[in-house]
């Protein structure tokens, strides 16, 4: 099953490589990983998407917790949560297709954030499958570049990941 693991980790150099190294050394897979400092600049928050059986996920969370720099973590899949991913897409545009691309972006609640005579850059956020659907809906020929942040998430309600 797919799991989203959110981690609060000391904002020290090398912290990211400890997490990444753990995954490669133990043969766990990482589908995506995002990391940035939090409102407390001594802490970074990482969101990691991985897949595995319950036993594997249990080992992953235990091994992550064992890293000395990891302060706290939660497996978002254990409770109701929201998740969002950010995507930027660059598409080639021609006079005939310009309007169609714009309409499509609108339907998916994307924003056009850069325009040239021959291209658009579209910004879009949402659950990962919505982003997949948008990319699939675009004409393959016109697709120039796609960059995705990987999902981030938060549990709903009062529950949260903080100190």
């Amino acid at each position: 099953m797919r799991h989203i693991i959110s981690i609060l980790i000391e904002n020290e150099s090398g912290a990211l490589s400890r997490v990444a190294g753990l995954f490669s050394a133990r043969g766990y897979n990482i589908e995506s990983l995002t990391v940035a400092p939090t409102e407390d600049s001594t802490l970074s928050r990482m969101t990691l998407v991985t897949r595995g059986s319950d036993e594997v996920i249990e080992q992953i969370t235990k091994q992550l917790n064992k890293l000395i720099d990891v302060v706290k973590l939660i497996d978002l899949a254990e409770a109701v949560h929201v998740e969002r991913e950010l995507m930027l897409v660059k598409v080639k545009t021609m006079d005939e297709t310009r309007e169609e691309v714009r309409r499509l972006a609108e339907i998916f609640r994307g924003k056009i954030i850069d325009v040239t005579s021959s291209s658009y850059v579209i910004e879009m956020t949402g659950p990962s499958d919505k982003l997949d659907a948008f990319v699939a809906a675009l004409d393959e020929e016109s697709l120039v570049e796609v960059v995705r942040s990987g999902p981030m998430g938060m549990s709903r309600g009062e529950k949260g990941l903080h100190l």
Partner: protein
């Protein structure tokens, strides 16, 4: 007090009460060595290879319970230390390794003798630090000792760039008395509800067994384990790392379990209905084929590291906690309980175990013509009255040592179990002897292993550590040859060396006493003579049977009840129990 970075490192070692610093100098640590020169409190032991520095410090830690401390220079000094660090890591040994690093301005520029020590050691340490600011140095040293020695112990590397130790830059020195880290809070006390559940399960068991490992030794829990086992009257087995955690000569002890464990220990594991694992990590050398591991048992597991629990074998009652604290609580609960164990079932269980014991799986044929390695270990046990500290290398001799030297006390059996590092034995013996100058220290080794750190014979001369080297010389990498005999139709590919040095001359060259023993009848007197030479390192080269194998053996992929024995068991096994 204003100190330079180099002085801060050394002063923090003094403040930690460090007795010995095992190391080897070089460019990046010259400032540190100058600070070492200016003090008398911490004694530096100059080894002949950085790997040995780590093994010596590691064995010092294993034999005393105090952290071992090492200093090496950057680049090749640091990489030479890695095998030792990984060895300590896999056996959870508390250590602090200080490595020199190139100056901070040139880090990352492929400077002379630069390696990314933090990167290289990340997978084989409990934690590591790169100190980038002299202001962090004292706190980092404190954290290093704290992390190394608490929770599940392990090695911690502190990588110190040369400019941080510059004698010209001094700052006020305060060594923190205590430290707390928000990201690191090891559990001590076990969950009371789980402990109660475990005690219930234990008291209702019909065929119980206690499977105790290295965690009992690391957590100083031998007394509690013994009291616990005595209270219940249940059989006890130890892992290779747990030997000495329960007195081997006690009648409840059924020997080591696992690949080269005893018949009775493995059969009892296989047939048991309740297992309590205490500070043991279900290593593959212990479990054999996982699908067939202990098919009838409910399993309780006490371990300080949550990730050891249900890692390979799913357990029924996990208890995360410190072995001593948890056992104390269990003992109190058992004493207070109004349930008592089913004595009839227990008697039947013991009579079954005794039948397995009658197989006498460690029996071997004494020979008058050729020295059996087992015989040497047995005689060593008698001559040292079971009181010696025994270090070992890796191979058949290690298994013979584990099987035939009966350890009644913890921290006496010092070996590399997890990594299985050849070369460990001799530097380990030196580390132990420094910590216990009045004790007998024997290093049981093989002619291949001993050559991996043989240069330490010089360190032993310099620091007058009169250990006894028991070389079980079978002219083979015996353990490799054994596997080749069983699994590769005796194709002995590269498992022997065409030339083996004259160990007697070699020992003498280093200023020691050498002995070559070729006849069984000479074994005992030679050992007595050697151990009577209290102030001499004696290298005893025992020419042993080349073809001897270690039995019992569970071959790879087999399960506990599927053991290869030296002789087929004479006693039929009561299968009804299953």
């Amino acid at each position: 007090m204003e100190l330079s970075g180099g002085e801060i490192v050394v002063q923090s070692l003094i403040d930690e009460g460090v007795e010995f610093l095992f190391g080897y100098p070089g460019g990046a640590v010259l400032h540190l060595y100058d600070a070492i020169f200016h003090q008398q409190k911490v004694k530096h032991i100059l080894v002949r290879h950085e790997q040995a520095a780590v093994h010596s410090a590691d064995a010092y830690a294993r034999s005393t319970g105090k952290p071992g401390v090492v200093i090496v220079t950057s680049g090749p000094g640091a990489t030479n230390a890695v095998t030792g660090i990984a060895t300590a890591h896999l056996d959870s040994i508390p250590m602090v390794i200080i490595s020199g690093q190139v100056g901070t301005p040139v880090i990352g520029s492929d400077a002379f003798q630069e390696v990314d020590m933090v990167g290289i050691t990340r997978p084989c340490v409990k934690h590591n630090f790169l100190v980038k600011d002299i202001a962090d140095l004292a706190v980092t040293m404190k954290k290093a000792f704290h992390v190394a020695t608490t929770g599940r112990p392990g090695p911690v590397v502190v990588d110190v760039p040369k400019d941080i130790t510059d004698p010209a830059i001094k700052i006020p020195y305060v060594y923190p008395k205590e430290i707390s880290m928000r990201s690191y809070n090891p559990v001590v006390k076990g969950h009371t509800g789980q402990i109660k559940k475990a005690v219930d399960l234990l008291l209702n068991a019909q065929r119980p067994i206690i499977y105790a490992g290295g965690g009992v030794i690391l957590g100083n829990g031998s007394n509690e384990l013994t009291e616990f086992a005595k209270l219940l009257g249940y059989p006890v087995t130890n892992t290779l790392m747990g030997l000495g955690g329960y007195p081997a000569t006690d009648k409840q002890f059924v020997g080591m379990l696992g690949m080269h464990g005893t018949y009775e220990a493995n059969m009892a594991m296989h047939e048991s209905d309740v297992i309590i694992a205490i500070g043991a990590r279900f290593d593959d050398r212990v479990t054999g084929k996982l699908e067939e591991f202990c098919p009838y048992a409910k399993i309780i597991h006490i371990d300080i590291d949550p990730s050891s629990i249900s890692k390979t074998v799913k357990v029924d009652v996990p208890i995360v906690g410190e072995v001593t604290a948890v056992l104390k609580e269990m003992i109190a609960l058992i004493k207070a309980s109004n349930i008592t164990c089913d004595q009839k079932a227990l008697d039947a269980w013991w009579s079954q175990i005794n039948k397995w014991r009658d197989v006498d799986c460690l029996k071997y044929d004494y020979s008058e013509d050729i020295i059996k390695p087992q015989y040497v270990v047995e005689q060593l046990y008698e001559v040292t009255k079971g009181e010696a500290f025994v270090t070992s290398d890796v191979g058949q001799h290690q298994m013979f040592a584990a099987q035939y030297y009966h350890f009644d006390k913890p921290r006496r059996w010092i070996n590399s179990g997890g990594l299985g590092t050849m070369g460990f034995g001799l530097p380990a013996a030196i580390g132990v002897k420094l910590a216990h100058p009045d004790a007998d220290v024997a290093c049981i080794t093989g002619e291949a292993s001993i050559q991996m750190c043989i240069q330490e014979l010089a360190t032993a001369t310099q620091y007058r550590t009169p250990v006894k080297v028991i070389n079980l010389n079978n002219r083979y990498m015996g353990m490799v040859r054994q596997w080749q005999e069983f699994s590769y139709q005796s194709r002995y590919s590269e498992s022997y060396m065409d030339t083996i040095p004259d160990f007697v001359k070699l020992a003498e060259a280093y200023g020691h006493v050498g002995m070559k023993i070729e006849k069984p009848i000479d074994v005992r007197p030679a050992l007595e003579e050697a151990f009577a030479m209290k102030d001499k390192l004696v290298f005893m080269d025992f020419i042993t049977d080349r073809t001897e194998n270690v039995f019992p053996m569970i071959e790879a992929g087999k399960s506990h009840h599927d053991m290869k024995l030296r002789v087929a068991p004479g006693t039929p096994i009561d299968r009804e129990l299953a």
